[in-house]
Subunit: 194 residues, 2 copies
Amino acid sequence: MSLRYALLAILRVGPLSGYDLQKQFSQSVGHVWHAPDSQIYPELRKMHHDGLIEPEEQVRGERGTRRLYHVTDAGEEAFLAWMRSPLPYQRVRDPAHLRAAYLEAVDAGDARRFLEGHIAEWESELEQWEGELRHIEHLSNPMLVRRLAVTPDSERERTIEYKRFAYEGLVERARGEIDWARRGLALVDRLYPS
Amino acid sequence: MSLRYALLAILRVGPLSGYDLQKQFSQSVGHVWHAPDSQIYPELRKMHHDGLIEPEEQVRGERGTRRLYHVTDAGEEAFLAWMRSPLPYQRVRDPAHLRAAYLEAVDAGDARRFLEGHIAEWESELEQWEGELRHIEHLSNPMLVRRLAVTPDSERERTIEYKRFAYEGLVERARGEIDWARRGLALVDRLYPS
DNA sequence: CTCATCATGTAAGGAGTTACATGATTGG
DNA sequence: CCAATCATGTAACTCCTTACATGATGAG
């Protein structure tokens, strides 16, 4: 149910089309929340139906229509209500740790391949998040720039600092996963003496 | 799709009924993979249909039937094939970090409540995982004991060490989340001078 | 006889994935 | 004129959640 609020968070900065949102989701925001276009377009329709956003229709050619979605007052309120409500945490469901708990079932090579894959996966995430962090620190993230343009000076620092805080958390998590998997590789070396 | 392999991982140790599995999922294994009974029973039927498990039916009273599920050779192979295949990683979708990135939208009190909730949530997970770790180290986890009873001595150490490794990873992740949220609280103090 | 535990499910719906499907505009 | 980008979706499916639903057995 957070997709809707992720979309509102972006649209609050200024109106965008489904296509533009989709790009945001594959870039900046997509590092915190991933969503494919096939999920975004229907959700925008539902949000319009629920009165949270209002499309500004732009005719393109003879048949094409581009819909720039604006957040309505009800949408703004819904976003703030969500921000203030307790987050529903869901129980852990982690395939990597599940597999790690049963690695004795496979041989040393398979165990290493799994751990190396885990490292590669999180290193790629780490790289993206570190990139985002740099963009935030250098004020070179386009979304953040658009955001700051409509933000009063008194809230400027908070806007930047919370974003930095969020990405720092992701960077640390990625580092934790990588460290863990590296210790796993050392454990494999120890458990299968050559 | 990992539910099926989580179930196989437990059933490989010895046959259990859906009810017993459900208990495992709310206890030991449930700390790595959560699943409600309404998901377990249908999945067991599907797995039986796919030939991965075989029920040993026990009549209870006039109508009740208890089904003890045994892993078939095909089930064992399917489990090992999964253990050896690359893990499909899914893109990040994290409501807590999404919200953290937009905390400037709410006041200091709301921001603190969110961060305190995050700490409380992860402290509760941490407590459970640390408890599991102690059970593993003292060999007092019933699943692990059953497991070791059917494990040759040569694989004893690995069986214990991989389980410890998995839970250590979870414990560290929980500590990371708690540290992050604590730094968030300090940030809130700094951003809203009283 | 009543309560905890054992035991097994269905039904409806929400969230997300993967694959498919179409067409317009703009820049080189 | 062709490719990249802009622009919008549908369909089928899996996985998971929440709520509902029923009944047996054994201990006190």
